[in-house]
Protein backbone atom coordinates (compact mmCIF):
# COMPACT_ATOMS: atom_id res chain seq x y z
CA UNK A 1 0.00 0.00 0.00
CA UNK A 2 1.09 3.52 -0.79
CA UNK A 3 0.24 4.69 2.72
CA UNK A 4 2.30 1.91 4.23
CA UNK A 5 5.26 2.64 1.95
CA UNK A 6 5.12 6.38 2.55
CA UNK A 7 4.67 5.92 6.26
CA UNK A 8 7.51 3.43 6.28
CA UNK A 9 9.72 5.89 4.40
CA UNK A 10 8.71 8.70 6.73
CA UNK A 11 9.19 6.42 9.71
CA UNK A 12 12.63 5.42 8.45
CA UNK A 13 13.47 9.07 7.91
CA UNK A 14 12.25 9.78 11.41
CA UNK A 15 14.42 7.04 12.81
CA UNK A 16 17.31 8.61 10.92
CA UNK A 17 16.37 11.92 12.44
CA UNK A 18 16.16 10.38 15.86
CA UNK A 19 19.53 8.81 15.32
CA UNK A 20 20.92 12.14 14.20
CA UNK A 21 21.37 13.50 10.76
CA UNK A 22 24.80 12.05 10.24
CA UNK A 23 23.09 8.72 9.72
CA UNK A 24 22.87 9.78 6.10
CA UNK A 25 26.63 9.88 6.04
CA UNK A 26 27.61 7.00 3.89
CA UNK A 27 30.37 6.59 1.42
CA UNK A 28 27.67 5.92 -1.14
CA UNK A 29 26.52 9.51 -1.06
CA UNK A 30 29.89 11.14 -1.48
CA UNK A 31 30.42 13.58 -4.31
CA UNK A 32 32.97 12.64 -6.97
CA UNK A 33 36.52 13.68 -6.10
CA UNK A 34 39.38 14.06 -8.48
CA UNK A 35 42.46 11.93 -7.78
CA UNK A 36 44.44 15.14 -7.10
CA UNK A 37 41.93 16.34 -4.56
CA UNK A 38 41.80 12.91 -2.94
CA UNK A 39 45.59 12.81 -2.71
CA UNK A 40 45.66 16.30 -1.27
CA UNK A 41 43.00 15.39 1.26
CA UNK A 42 44.83 12.24 2.35
CA UNK A 43 48.08 14.16 2.78
CA UNK A 44 46.36 16.75 4.96
CA UNK A 45 44.51 14.07 6.86
CA UNK A 46 47.76 12.31 7.65
CA UNK A 47 49.15 15.48 9.19
CA UNK A 48 46.06 16.13 11.30
CA UNK A 49 44.60 12.68 11.94
CA UNK A 50 45.15 13.01 15.68
CA UNK A 51 42.36 15.63 15.78
CA UNK A 52 39.77 12.94 14.99
CA UNK A 53 40.96 10.74 17.82
CA UNK A 54 41.17 13.51 20.37
CA UNK A 55 37.67 14.75 19.63
CA UNK A 56 36.33 11.18 19.64
CA UNK A 57 38.12 10.51 22.92
CA UNK A 58 36.34 13.40 24.62
CA UNK A 59 32.89 12.56 23.27
CA UNK A 60 32.91 8.77 23.49
CA UNK A 61 33.68 6.51 26.43
CA UNK A 62 32.99 3.24 24.67
CA UNK A 63 35.84 1.95 22.54
CA UNK A 64 33.69 0.44 19.76
CA UNK A 65 31.49 3.48 19.66
CA UNK A 66 34.61 5.62 19.39
CA UNK A 67 35.72 3.67 16.33
CA UNK A 68 32.34 4.32 14.72
CA UNK A 69 32.62 7.98 15.57
CA UNK A 70 36.10 8.28 14.07
CA UNK A 71 34.78 6.60 10.95
CA UNK A 72 31.86 9.02 10.74
CA UNK A 73 34.21 11.98 11.18
CA UNK A 74 36.53 10.65 8.51
CA UNK A 75 33.69 10.16 6.05
CA UNK A 76 32.16 13.53 6.77
CA UNK A 77 35.55 15.26 6.40
CA UNK A 78 35.97 13.64 3.03
CA UNK A 79 32.44 14.57 1.95
CA UNK A 80 32.92 18.17 3.05
CA UNK A 81 36.39 18.54 1.59
CA UNK A 82 35.03 19.56 -1.83
CA UNK A 83 33.74 22.71 -0.08
CA UNK A 84 36.96 23.37 1.83
CA UNK A 85 37.94 27.04 1.69
CA UNK A 86 41.72 27.46 1.44
CA UNK A 87 41.52 30.73 3.40
CA UNK A 88 40.67 28.71 6.50
CA UNK A 89 43.33 26.65 8.25
CA UNK A 90 42.82 22.95 7.59
CA UNK A 91 43.08 22.12 11.29
CA UNK A 92 40.37 24.67 12.19
CA UNK A 93 38.16 23.30 9.45
CA UNK A 94 38.76 19.75 10.64
CA UNK A 95 37.88 20.63 14.22
CA UNK A 96 34.60 22.10 13.01
CA UNK A 97 33.66 18.98 11.11
CA UNK A 98 34.85 16.63 13.86
CA UNK A 99 33.08 18.49 16.67
CA UNK A 100 29.87 18.77 14.65
CA UNK A 101 29.87 15.05 13.93
CA UNK A 102 30.76 14.26 17.55
CA UNK A 103 27.89 16.37 18.91
CA UNK A 104 25.42 14.74 16.51
CA UNK A 105 26.75 11.34 17.53
CA UNK A 106 26.60 12.28 21.22
CA UNK A 107 22.97 13.38 20.92
CA UNK A 108 21.97 10.19 19.20
CA UNK A 109 22.01 8.32 22.50
CA UNK A 110 23.80 5.16 21.67
CA UNK A 111 22.51 4.09 18.27
CA UNK A 112 24.98 3.34 15.55
CA UNK A 113 25.53 4.47 11.99
CA UNK A 114 24.77 2.04 9.20
CA UNK A 115 27.46 0.44 7.05
CA UNK A 116 29.94 0.41 9.88
CA UNK A 117 33.16 -1.32 8.95
CA UNK A 118 36.27 -1.84 11.06
CA UNK A 119 38.39 1.27 11.01
CA UNK A 120 41.37 -0.88 10.05
CA UNK A 121 39.69 -1.44 6.68
CA UNK A 122 40.16 2.25 6.05
CA UNK A 123 43.84 1.98 6.80
CA UNK A 124 43.59 3.54 10.24
CA UNK A 125 44.98 1.72 13.22
CA UNK A 126 43.81 3.23 16.45
CA UNK A 127 44.73 0.40 18.80
CA UNK A 128 47.98 2.15 19.69
CA UNK A 129 46.12 5.40 20.32
CA UNK A 130 43.63 3.59 22.54
CA UNK A 131 46.51 2.02 24.44
CA UNK A 132 47.98 5.47 24.91
CA UNK A 133 44.71 6.81 26.30
CA UNK A 134 44.51 3.75 28.59
CA UNK A 135 47.93 4.64 29.99
CA UNK A 136 46.87 8.17 30.88
CA UNK A 137 48.22 9.45 34.18
CA UNK A 138 46.06 10.49 37.13
CA UNK A 139 45.81 14.12 36.01
CA UNK A 140 44.56 13.28 32.56
CA UNK A 141 42.12 10.71 33.96
CA UNK A 142 40.78 13.25 36.42
CA UNK A 143 40.49 15.85 33.68
CA UNK A 144 38.66 13.41 31.46
CA UNK A 145 36.25 12.59 34.26
CA UNK A 146 35.50 16.26 34.79
CA UNK A 147 34.96 16.86 31.08
CA UNK A 148 32.53 13.93 31.05
CA UNK A 149 30.33 15.99 33.34
CA UNK A 150 30.03 18.80 30.80
CA UNK A 151 27.34 19.04 28.14
CA UNK A 152 28.15 18.65 24.46
CA UNK A 153 28.63 22.38 23.79
CA UNK A 154 30.84 23.21 26.78
CA UNK A 155 32.83 20.06 26.02
CA UNK A 156 33.69 21.59 22.63
CA UNK A 157 34.83 24.81 24.29
CA UNK A 158 37.10 23.08 26.76
CA UNK A 159 38.50 20.79 24.08
CA UNK A 160 39.47 23.73 21.90
CA UNK A 161 40.93 25.54 24.91
CA UNK A 162 43.04 22.49 25.75
CA UNK A 163 44.12 22.31 22.13
CA UNK A 164 45.65 25.76 22.51
CA UNK A 165 43.18 27.82 20.45
CA UNK A 166 42.64 31.44 21.47
CA UNK A 167 39.18 32.97 21.97
CA UNK A 168 38.90 34.26 18.39
CA UNK A 169 39.81 30.87 16.95
CA UNK A 170 37.39 29.07 19.26
CA UNK A 171 34.69 31.59 18.32
CA UNK A 172 35.26 30.82 14.64
CA UNK A 173 34.85 27.08 15.21
CA UNK A 174 31.88 27.25 17.55
CA UNK A 175 30.09 30.23 16.02
CA UNK A 176 29.68 32.50 19.04
CA UNK A 177 31.39 35.82 19.83
CA UNK A 178 34.95 35.88 21.13
CA UNK A 179 33.90 37.72 24.29
CA UNK A 180 31.28 35.05 24.92
CA UNK A 181 33.97 32.39 24.49
CA UNK A 182 36.29 34.16 26.96
CA UNK A 183 33.59 34.46 29.60
CA UNK A 184 32.44 30.90 29.18
CA UNK A 185 36.00 29.50 29.20
CA UNK A 186 36.83 31.43 32.38
CA UNK A 187 33.72 30.09 34.08
CA UNK A 188 34.49 26.57 32.93
CA UNK A 189 38.09 26.89 34.08
CA UNK A 190 36.99 28.01 37.54
CA UNK A 191 34.43 25.26 37.77
CA UNK A 192 36.75 22.51 36.56
CA UNK A 193 39.57 23.86 38.70
CA UNK A 194 37.44 23.69 41.84
CA UNK A 195 36.22 20.21 40.98
CA UNK A 196 39.72 19.06 40.13
CA UNK A 197 41.12 20.36 43.40
CA UNK A 198 38.29 18.75 45.34
CA UNK A 199 38.95 15.48 43.55
CA UNK A 200 42.71 15.48 44.08
CA UNK A 201 42.42 16.58 47.72
CA UNK A 202 40.20 13.60 48.34
CA UNK A 203 42.83 11.22 46.99
CA UNK A 204 45.22 9.44 49.39
CA UNK A 205 48.82 10.69 49.02
Amino acid sequence: MQAHATLHATHTATHDALRGSTSDVSLDSMPPMSPTLTGEFLARLENHKRILFKVAYLYCRDRDDRQDLVQEMLIQCWRSYARFDERVQFSTWMYRVAVNVAISHFRREGTRIRDTVPLEDYGLNIAAADAMFDDDGDNMRALRQLIDGLDELNRALILLFLEGFNSEEIAAVVGISASNVSTRINRLKSRLQAEFNAQTEGQPT
Binding site: T10, A17, S21, L27, L124, A129, L153, E163, L192
Partner: protein, 230 residues
Protein backbone atom coordinates in the same frame (compact mmCIF):
# COMPACT_ATOMS: atom_id res chain seq x y z
CA UNK B 1 49.09 19.23 44.75
CA UNK B 2 47.43 22.30 43.20
CA UNK B 3 47.55 22.05 39.43
CA UNK B 4 45.83 24.69 37.35
CA UNK B 5 43.88 23.98 34.20
CA UNK B 6 46.67 25.68 32.28
CA UNK B 7 49.14 23.09 33.63
CA UNK B 8 46.74 20.38 32.56
CA UNK B 9 46.57 22.02 29.16
CA UNK B 10 50.33 21.64 28.79
CA UNK B 11 50.10 18.02 29.80
CA UNK B 12 47.26 17.54 27.32
CA UNK B 13 49.28 19.12 24.50
CA UNK B 14 52.35 17.06 25.37
CA UNK B 15 50.34 13.96 24.52
CA UNK B 16 50.08 15.20 20.94
CA UNK B 17 53.56 14.07 20.02
CA UNK B 18 52.93 10.66 21.52
CA UNK B 19 49.59 10.40 19.75
CA UNK B 20 51.15 11.42 16.48
CA UNK B 21 53.67 8.58 16.64
CA UNK B 22 51.09 6.08 17.94
CA UNK B 23 48.59 6.53 15.14
CA UNK B 24 49.23 4.70 11.95
CA UNK B 25 47.51 5.51 8.72
CA UNK B 26 47.76 3.51 5.53
CA UNK B 27 47.07 6.08 2.85
CA UNK B 28 46.92 3.53 0.07
CA UNK B 29 44.33 1.43 1.90
CA UNK B 30 42.32 4.49 2.86
CA UNK B 31 42.38 5.70 -0.73
CA UNK B 32 41.27 2.33 -2.07
CA UNK B 33 38.53 1.88 0.55
CA UNK B 34 37.03 5.25 -0.23
CA UNK B 35 37.21 4.93 -3.99
CA UNK B 36 35.96 1.36 -3.98
CA UNK B 37 32.90 2.29 -1.94
CA UNK B 38 32.31 5.46 -3.89
CA UNK B 39 32.32 3.86 -7.32
CA UNK B 40 29.75 1.27 -6.18
CA UNK B 41 26.69 3.49 -6.10
CA UNK B 42 25.05 6.61 -7.42
CA UNK B 43 24.03 7.75 -3.97
CA UNK B 44 21.72 6.42 -1.27
CA UNK B 45 19.52 9.50 -1.08
CA UNK B 46 18.91 9.58 -4.84
CA UNK B 47 18.02 5.87 -4.85
CA UNK B 48 15.60 6.39 -1.97
CA UNK B 49 13.92 9.28 -3.77
CA UNK B 50 13.65 7.34 -7.01
CA UNK B 51 12.12 4.34 -5.23
CA UNK B 52 9.54 6.52 -3.53
CA UNK B 53 8.62 8.38 -6.72
CA UNK B 54 8.29 5.11 -8.65
CA UNK B 55 6.09 3.71 -5.89
CA UNK B 56 3.89 6.81 -5.81
CA UNK B 57 3.37 7.08 -9.59
CA UNK B 58 0.64 4.36 -9.89
CA UNK B 59 -1.29 5.88 -6.98
CA UNK B 60 -0.99 9.42 -8.32
CA UNK B 61 -2.08 8.24 -11.77
CA UNK B 62 -5.03 6.32 -10.31
CA UNK B 63 -6.20 9.26 -8.18
CA UNK B 64 -5.73 11.67 -11.11
CA UNK B 65 -7.76 9.44 -13.42
CA UNK B 66 -10.42 8.95 -10.74
CA UNK B 67 -10.69 12.69 -10.07
CA UNK B 68 -11.13 13.44 -13.78
CA UNK B 69 -14.00 10.92 -13.97
CA UNK B 70 -15.84 12.05 -10.83
CA UNK B 71 -15.69 15.83 -11.01
CA UNK B 72 -19.47 16.07 -10.55
CA UNK B 73 -19.68 13.57 -7.66
CA UNK B 74 -18.39 15.17 -4.44
CA UNK B 75 -18.78 11.95 -2.44
CA UNK B 76 -16.03 10.44 -4.60
CA UNK B 77 -14.21 13.60 -5.64
CA UNK B 78 -13.41 14.81 -2.11
CA UNK B 79 -11.72 11.61 -0.83
CA UNK B 80 -9.80 11.33 -4.12
CA UNK B 81 -8.56 14.92 -3.84
CA UNK B 82 -7.57 14.37 -0.21
CA UNK B 83 -5.66 11.18 -1.03
CA UNK B 84 -3.96 12.84 -4.01
CA UNK B 85 -2.95 15.82 -1.90
CA UNK B 86 -1.74 13.56 0.96
CA UNK B 87 0.44 11.54 -1.43
CA UNK B 88 1.93 14.61 -3.13
CA UNK B 89 2.61 16.45 0.14
CA UNK B 90 4.21 13.45 1.88
CA UNK B 91 6.33 12.66 -1.16
CA UNK B 92 7.50 16.26 -1.47
CA UNK B 93 8.24 16.58 2.24
CA UNK B 94 10.22 13.34 2.41
CA UNK B 95 12.29 14.25 -0.65
CA UNK B 96 12.86 17.78 0.59
CA UNK B 97 13.92 16.60 4.06
CA UNK B 98 16.21 13.93 2.66
CA UNK B 99 17.81 16.59 0.46
CA UNK B 100 18.22 18.92 3.42
CA UNK B 101 20.08 16.24 5.37
CA UNK B 102 22.26 15.41 2.38
CA UNK B 103 23.17 19.07 1.88
CA UNK B 104 24.20 19.72 5.47
CA UNK B 105 27.62 21.34 5.58
CA UNK B 106 29.47 19.95 8.57
CA UNK B 107 32.24 22.50 8.22
CA UNK B 108 29.88 25.30 9.32
CA UNK B 109 30.27 26.73 12.84
CA UNK B 110 28.97 24.36 15.48
CA UNK B 111 26.04 26.43 16.79
CA UNK B 112 24.75 27.18 13.28
CA UNK B 113 24.98 23.61 12.04
CA UNK B 114 23.53 22.02 15.17
CA UNK B 115 20.60 24.45 14.94
CA UNK B 116 20.04 23.48 11.32
CA UNK B 117 20.16 19.77 12.18
CA UNK B 118 17.61 20.29 14.93
CA UNK B 119 15.26 22.21 12.62
CA UNK B 120 15.40 19.38 10.08
CA UNK B 121 14.78 16.89 12.86
CA UNK B 122 11.70 18.80 14.04
CA UNK B 123 10.36 18.93 10.48
CA UNK B 124 10.89 15.19 10.05
CA UNK B 125 9.28 14.30 13.36
CA UNK B 126 6.30 16.51 12.57
CA UNK B 127 5.95 14.92 9.13
CA UNK B 128 6.00 11.44 10.62
CA UNK B 129 3.49 12.32 13.29
CA UNK B 130 0.96 13.80 10.88
CA UNK B 131 1.60 11.23 8.17
CA UNK B 132 0.61 8.56 10.66
CA UNK B 133 -2.33 10.39 12.20
CA UNK B 134 -3.91 11.50 8.91
CA UNK B 135 -2.79 8.40 6.96
CA UNK B 136 -4.75 6.02 9.22
CA UNK B 137 -7.86 8.04 8.39
CA UNK B 138 -7.42 8.54 4.64
CA UNK B 139 -5.95 5.20 3.70
CA UNK B 140 -8.76 3.15 5.18
CA UNK B 141 -12.40 3.99 4.26
CA UNK B 142 -11.80 6.77 1.66
CA UNK B 143 -9.19 4.65 -0.12
CA UNK B 144 -11.35 1.50 -0.08
CA UNK B 145 -14.32 3.47 -1.43
CA UNK B 146 -12.16 4.76 -4.30
CA UNK B 147 -10.67 1.34 -4.97
CA UNK B 148 -14.06 -0.35 -5.23
CA UNK B 149 -15.50 2.39 -7.40
CA UNK B 150 -12.45 2.85 -9.61
CA UNK B 151 -11.44 -0.78 -10.16
CA UNK B 152 -14.70 -2.70 -9.78
CA UNK B 153 -17.30 -0.04 -10.47
CA UNK B 154 -18.96 -0.75 -7.10
CA UNK B 155 -20.46 2.20 -5.22
CA UNK B 156 -19.88 1.32 -1.56
CA UNK B 157 -22.10 4.17 -0.42
CA UNK B 158 -25.15 2.40 -1.84
CA UNK B 159 -24.18 -1.26 -1.78
CA UNK B 160 -26.28 -1.91 1.32
CA UNK B 161 -28.36 0.03 3.83
CA UNK B 162 -25.78 -0.72 6.51
CA UNK B 163 -22.81 0.62 4.52
CA UNK B 164 -23.33 4.40 4.88
CA UNK B 165 -23.52 3.99 8.66
CA UNK B 166 -20.45 1.75 8.65
CA UNK B 167 -18.52 4.34 6.60
CA UNK B 168 -19.68 7.21 8.80
CA UNK B 169 -18.71 5.36 11.99
CA UNK B 170 -15.31 4.46 10.58
CA UNK B 171 -14.57 8.02 9.54
CA UNK B 172 -15.75 9.31 12.91
CA UNK B 173 -13.56 6.73 14.63
CA UNK B 174 -10.57 7.77 12.47
CA UNK B 175 -11.06 11.43 13.36
CA UNK B 176 -11.47 10.62 17.06
CA UNK B 177 -8.38 8.41 16.90
CA UNK B 178 -6.16 11.44 16.23
CA UNK B 179 -6.50 13.12 19.64
CA UNK B 180 -6.81 9.70 21.29
CA UNK B 181 -3.50 8.50 19.75
CA UNK B 182 -1.73 11.66 20.92
CA UNK B 183 -3.16 11.25 24.43
CA UNK B 184 -2.44 7.51 24.60
CA UNK B 185 1.13 8.02 23.33
CA UNK B 186 1.77 10.56 26.05
CA UNK B 187 0.41 8.06 28.56
CA UNK B 188 2.49 5.15 27.23
CA UNK B 189 5.77 7.04 26.82
CA UNK B 190 8.41 5.36 28.95
CA UNK B 191 6.04 2.65 30.22
CA UNK B 192 6.88 -0.05 27.70
CA UNK B 193 10.63 0.14 28.13
CA UNK B 194 11.29 -3.25 26.56
CA UNK B 195 10.92 -1.96 23.01
CA UNK B 196 13.05 1.05 22.01
CA UNK B 197 11.29 1.14 18.62
CA UNK B 198 7.89 1.39 20.26
CA UNK B 199 9.24 4.06 22.55
CA UNK B 200 10.49 6.04 19.56
CA UNK B 201 7.08 5.60 17.96
CA UNK B 202 5.13 6.83 21.00
CA UNK B 203 7.63 9.67 21.50
CA UNK B 204 7.06 10.67 17.88
CA UNK B 205 3.26 10.61 18.13
CA UNK B 206 3.16 12.29 21.53
CA UNK B 207 5.46 15.03 20.25
CA UNK B 208 8.03 14.40 23.00
CA UNK B 209 10.92 14.25 20.55
CA UNK B 210 9.87 17.58 19.11
CA UNK B 211 9.90 19.02 22.63
CA UNK B 212 13.41 17.65 23.18
CA UNK B 213 14.59 19.10 19.87
CA UNK B 214 13.02 22.48 20.73
CA UNK B 215 14.74 22.40 24.12
CA UNK B 216 18.07 21.85 22.40
CA UNK B 217 17.36 24.77 20.05
CA UNK B 218 16.65 26.95 23.09
CA UNK B 219 19.89 25.73 24.66
CA UNK B 220 21.79 26.68 21.49
CA UNK B 221 20.21 30.14 21.57
CA UNK B 222 21.24 30.61 25.22
CA UNK B 223 24.73 29.39 24.41
CA UNK B 224 24.97 31.83 21.52
CA UNK B 225 23.74 34.71 23.68
CA UNK B 226 26.50 36.87 25.10
CA UNK B 227 26.91 35.80 28.73
CA UNK B 228 29.27 38.71 29.44
CA UNK B 229 26.43 41.15 28.77
CA UNK B 230 24.16 39.51 31.37
Amino acid sequence: MNLTLDDLKNEWLARDRQLETSLRMNKMLLHEAMLEKHSGSQGGAATGNLFQILFAIPFLAFFGWFIARHLDQPAFLIPALLLQAWTVVMLALTIQQRGAVRDLDYSRPVVALQGEIEQIKIARLRTFKWAFLTGQLLWWIPFVVLLFKGLLGVDLYTVSAFMPRFIAWNIAFGVAFIPFAIWASKLLVGRLGASPRFQQFTDGIAGNDIAVARAFLAKLARFEGDVAAR
